[in-house]
Symmetry: C2
Subunit: 218 residues, 2 copies
DNA sequence: TCCAGAGTTTTTATCGACAAAAGTAAAAAC
DNA sequence: GTTTTTACTTTTGTCGATAAAAACTCTGGA
């Protein structure tokens, strides 16, 4: 019945460009020439420009009036700041999610964790499943605005993870960490769950910081 | 020495359109036809479209693929949700601001409050001074990302205030509320200050909710 | 060798035109 | 009298061309 969602070239370009930025296919700080991008994504200047404007509002692209666009730079300082903000905000979101969560939420968390465990790390879909697990944890938080913000932060963090993916993952039992977080959340221990979640992020952050520093040195 | 910042037509349009949206000059839900806006702001379709794309990423404009743009709708539900998120997030930001704030921050708060007191409510610059006061409170929080988020939330709230401005302000001593918040913040009482700030927002929210309901009825 | 400046080449920002889609109104069919 | 069809209008999304601005290059001095 419903005609297939005919999305516009501008939105397509927006999505693709964003993905390339998040995957690290386009390096941080790289110059984004409209003409090149147009060729790459098969579109005219207008849709590309629209996509760039959007992404600059999302913080993934920097706009320099009269001298074009650049991929948002990446630095350890920026990353540290990101992690800090993420811990603070997600602690709140998790607390409220736990407070508001019912049976459906609990089941969502359980199944998301199960799917994540089943897939080996480094596998194709792992990143997506990992994202889904963390989304599920917060999903009962009754504030779309806040959740959207968390989503943005998660994306920025995923970008850093992609950038450092060359370096080997440290000897750490991530699955166990996920398990205790889910456990605490499901038993309603809000402050404990928040603390565990923050620690989870800080762990990864420490590893990433080192990886980034090593990259920069090379 | 530095040449004056030659900002592009797209950014100009972006700023102007945003202001009109925030001031309520353009009604929530109104259709935004590219051609009309182009005429209004004296620009071609491309800059207008860019501005629209940006604003849709900021949540002030809704994009409907293949059928144009609309000013973001306003509803009491959306407003309630906004206030809730704002209380949660600003409590965190204020806490961290207090923790990190030094002498310069304290002075900033004091002077912002002084300026606000001096200006009568309803006066031309009041809204700006009011914004400056709340910004000053949070300004020592060491996370640009978080502050930017608070800023967007504040803007959305200001829009609602503008929409309801027709209705008379209730008999409430706003100055006194500001005073006790500043007092608590400056003496390092983080949790008390956070609670007061949240209460401050909820007060305004109650009034606004009523005002909006009355508007909708009319 | 280093710098200043003129001229050339990219790149950016903007416009106007055009085709495809959505919306609208009137006419035809059941 | 309601629905369907059809023709028409408006609006949206996209392109290619163009002028203005920045970046680059080359040359001729000191």
């Amino acid at each position: 019945m419903a005609p297939p969602p005919p999305d516009t070239l501008a939105t397509q370009t927006h999505r693709r460009l964003r993905q390339d930025l998040l995957d690290g296919v386009i390096a941080p700080g790289a110059k984004l020439k409209v003409h090149d991008l147009a060729a790459r994504y098969g579109a005219g200047p207008s849709p590309v420009r629209e996509a760039l404007a959007s992404l600059s509002s999302e913080g993934l692209v920097e706009r320099l009036d009269q001298r074009g666009f650049r991929a948002a730079p990446a630095s350890v300082e920026d990353f540290d700041e990101l992690v800090r903000a993420r811990c603070w905000v997600e602690e709140v979101a998790l607390r409220e999610s736990i407070a508001a969560g019912g049976a459906a939420w609990e089941e969502g968390v359980v199944v998301a964790r199960f799917r994540l465990e089943r897939a080996a790390r480094g596998e194709a879909g792992w990143e997506a499943l990992h994202g889904a697990f963390h989304t599920a944890l917060l999903s009962a938080c009754p504030s779309p605005t806040l959740l959207a913000f968390c989503e943005t932060l998660r994306e920025r963090a995923a970008r850093y993870r992609a950038l450092a993916s060359a370096v080997a993952y440290p000897g750490r039992d991530v699955a166990a960490e996920h398990a205790v977080i889910a456990q605490a959340a499901l038993t309603g221990q809000a402050v404990a769950a928040g603390a565990l979640l923050a620690e989870h992020y800080r762990q990864t952050a420490g590893w990433l910081r080192e990886a980034l520093a090593r990259l920069r040195a090379a």
